[in-house]
Symmetry: C2
Subunit: 192 residues, 2 copies
DNA sequence: GCAGAATATTGCGTGCACGCAATATTGCGT
DNA sequence: ACGCAATATTGCGTGCACGCAATATTCTGC
């Protein structure tokens, strides 16, 4: 719908009507118009991540399990049609909203991390999950910005390069933190 | 001003008038009313962090330098008067906005990290800085939520416990990532 | 099947964020 | 000092987010 008419030509009234509810009710579920649009594109990230994390074989470490799961999230292109991503890439607000979507995986990710290694502290798991989210945000943001010439004609942003690769590169620096969290060395072994 | 009259009794018009500008101009500088209130309380975090990071002695590693700097941010209580924090803690929107403030330190922090160890990749520095931000957010959010009973009377949230300690605890799991980023082991030495 | 509770939906009213285009202001070169 | 360009400020108009309270709907125990 936003694809057909352009994101700015979709009024809240339209979305509500399409959903068969009042505009006010729509607002009970989406805190902004852009969020509704993005949600329609990405679906339920939380469920995907949960599934992805549990589907990793038990032998691999937490770090790799998490990294693979998140990378997989941005590899399956079925949920992310080219044109939809293009539209998102061309609107600053949609970009921001799309990036914020990543936050929603942090909760489930925390649970998954705790489940995979139950000796880990809750706070640590939260921090690591949030870090993963932050890293993913950076990767996606950077990817969306690829040649995002703001001044110009709509429809000129051309996301290119491998998003999965970029995501993996962004997540890799965090692997040592996961490793350290699972093998409880007090901290800072290099000197001693 | 928000302290005296309550956060909800401050209209944009008032803020603008107090600043001696038109309401529209106020909106060019603050994207929301809450942001203006919070900004008035916290001042310029970016500057503080930059100063804090450079003021660490050169001998200490990046990890400790960063952690100490961020912890220091939440130790100096001069900028964070008790009553102001109480007000923020009691409003969901203000809480969120206050937590989001942390994001503003990521840019300067990235620069500082790169400066301290120039062999580090830009992406890695960004990821680590964002992770620090994410961890700090968790700590602050958790601290603000201490006994934050939503249903009840205004002024009943009592933030307690040591925020600096909580921040440090949240940041500590990230130290190994910093260590690994500075000493370039390819990754995953435990096996080989 | 029914009363009553719990929950979801809706309308209304209020302030607000923000694009746009006009106007005021600052800064620079000569 | 002057004019010009870059930048900051302002008014206006439009949709919108959201609190609140009334209403419709679904969920229980009996």
């Amino acid at each position: 719908m936003a694809l057909a008419r352009g994101p700015d030509n979709v009024r809240v009234e339209d979305i509500a009507a399409a959903a068969g509810v009042s505009p006010r009710t729509y607002n009970n579920y989406f805190s902004s118009r852009e969020q509704a649009v993005v949600a329609a594109v990405v679906g339920d990230r939380a469920a995907q991540v949960a599934a992805a994390v549990v589907s990793r074989p038990a032998e691999v470490g937490v770090a790799d399990a998490v990294i693979d799961a998140v990378v997989a999230l941005y590899s399956d292109s079925d949920d992310h049609p080219r044109d939809a991503l293009l539209m998102i890439a061309n609107s600053a607000v949609l970009r921001a909203c799309y990036v914020d979507t990543i936050t929603m995986i942090e909760g489930p990710l925390t649970d998954a991390v705790i489940e995979r290694c139950d000796r880990i502290g809750r706070l640590t798991a939260q921090v690591l999950s949030a870090s993963v989210g932050a890293a993913a945000k950076i990767a996606v943001r950077q990817w969306l910005q690829t040649t995002s010439a703001p001044p110009s004609m709509p429809g000129f942003v051309v996301p290119s390069g491998s998003l999965p690769d970029l995501v993996r590169a962004a997540l890799t620096p965090l692997a040592p933190a996961f490793d350290a969290a699972t093998t409880h060395s007090a901290r800072r072994p290099p000197g001693a």
